[in-house]
């Protein structure tokens, strides 16, 4: 039996709005892989011959291909044969060879996939002073698979690119993202390891980890609908359902949003059945990861830096975990009050008193 080939090297990946209208395309070559992965639209970096050099997380998610398995392949012949046309490849070549003026070209196109077609806006940008070009791809509309004469050769599936991945211990979800099937106790074990080794850092690290995960969650949420309506333009009720349903379907528990105190500059979140609470324990708060994830989503929606802090956890109260959402200026005080075990009402009153103190003196 031939040995199983090693997996290809994995490129780094990453955040959100769905359109690149507000993005300066000339800066794209300056971004590292992590920054590219934070963008909410597809970015593919190609050599002049079409070889894929970089492929960001959003493009992988939307094309349902793992970035680590497309890098090193030819975009036009191996990964997106539907783009191997004069309309697309011809424009690319002209820009790559400098036979057309300017440093970028923008046009609309239809991508064909086996799971459906996509109306996209494409901008091809030539990297200044380097032999590579960037495709910035913004999805405008998701359509059924085209089968008529207008259909072009569809992009391959992940399983077409790399056969028999399951035999190599690779599991994927429906978007071809690699996933891990493991009991949630893994999170508890990690938290326990931190308790032993570096207990003081656990809150900060788990929160930061969650924030990064929350930014990726935004990409999921922004691309969840079949239309092009950005998340923030959807009704509050619908957005809350989308967020809560997504987290529930991923197995994190049920998140509810209480805006009753929003006029005082705070929101209350509750998480029922949190996956991060395995059993009752001496640990005061276990859900910093989830708090960070929710912060990432709320930052995106509110278009400003907010902070989500867990106040009480089901592991000690037996009730749903309770979190508070505050503005950046109240972050430090909220963290301190939460660490003291204060209740939501107490924290809100103290935050307001803090402001009164500032005003008074």
């Amino acid at each position: 039996m031939s040995p199983i080939p090693p997996p290809p090297s994995v490129t780094a990946r990453t955040r959100p709005p769905r359109s690149f209208a507000a993005f300066d395309p000339t800066t794209v070559d300056d971004l590292d892989d992590a920054a590219l992965d934070e963008l909410p639209f597809g970015v593919v970096c190609l050599a002049r011959d079409g070889l894929i050099l970089r492929y960001n997380l959003a493009e992988g998610r939307l094309a349902r291909l793992d970035p680590s398995t497309v890098v090193g392949r030819n975009f036009f012949t191996d990964v997106a044969p539907c783009a191997n046309t004069e309309d697309f490849h011809g424009r690319f070549r002209a820009l790559a060879e400098g036979t057309t003026g300017g440093t970028s070209v923008r046009f609309s196109y239809v991508f064909d996939f086996r799971f459906g077609a996509q109306n996209v806006d494409v901008e091809i940008v030539r990297a200044p002073g380097a032999p590579r070009l960037y495709l910035l791809i913004n999805r405008r509309q998701f359509l059924p698979e085209r089968t008529g004469p207008e259909a072009r050769e569809p992009a391959p599936r992940q399983s077409d690119l790399v056969a028999d991945e399951a035999a190599r211990g690779i599991l994927r979800n429906r978007y071809a993202e690699r996933v891990l099937s493991t009991p949630v106790v893994l999170f508890e074990l990690l938290a326990n390891a931190f308790d032993k080794q570096s207990a003081a850092q656990w809150r900060t690290i788990a929160h930061d980890w969650g924030l990064a995960a929350g930014r990726r969650l935004v990409i999921e949420l922004e691309t969840a609908g079949d239309d092009e309506i950005p998340l923030g333009d959807r009704p509050m009720r619908e957005v809350v359902e989308l967020v809560s349903d997504l987290l529930r379907d991923q197995g994190w528990g049920v998140v509810t949003f209480d805006l009753a105190e929003s006029a005082r500059g705070v929101l209350r979140l509750e998480v029922e059945s949190s996956a991060l609470v395995a059993r009752p324990g001496r640990h005061g708060r276990r859900c910093h990861l989830l708090a960070g994830m929710l912060e990432g989503v709320l930052n995106h929606l509110a278009q400003r830096r907010l902070h989500v802090e867990e106040l009480s956890c089901a592991c000690t109260t037996g009730r749903p975990c309770e979190m508070i959402v505050v503005g950046e200026s109240r972050r430090e005080l909220a963290i301190r009050l939460a660490a003291e075990g204060r209740s939501f009402d107490d924290v809100v009153a103290t935050l307001e008193a803090g402001r009164a103190d500032e005003s008074g003196g």
Binding site: P235, T256, L259, G265
Partner: protein, 55 residues
């Protein structure tokens, strides 16, 4: 002590908002929150506003 309290299926996921706000765009609702804790100024009554701009 239970750590997975039963979820009340009748409990709404979104609470503390008027039906009108629930249907407003999420970004509008969340950007209107006085995040730094400053109270929102009361809106001038229309008559006072008109008097103010008319001098």
């Amino acid at each position: 002590m239970p750590t997975n309290p039963a979820v009340d299926p009748a409990r709404p996921i979104l609470r503390g908002v008027s039906p009108r706000d629930a249907e407003r765009p999420a970004r509008e609702v969340l950007t209107a929150v006085p995040w730094d804790g400053a109270r929102r100024r009361d809106t001038l009554p229309a008559a006072a506003f008109l008097a103010a701009i008319r001098g």
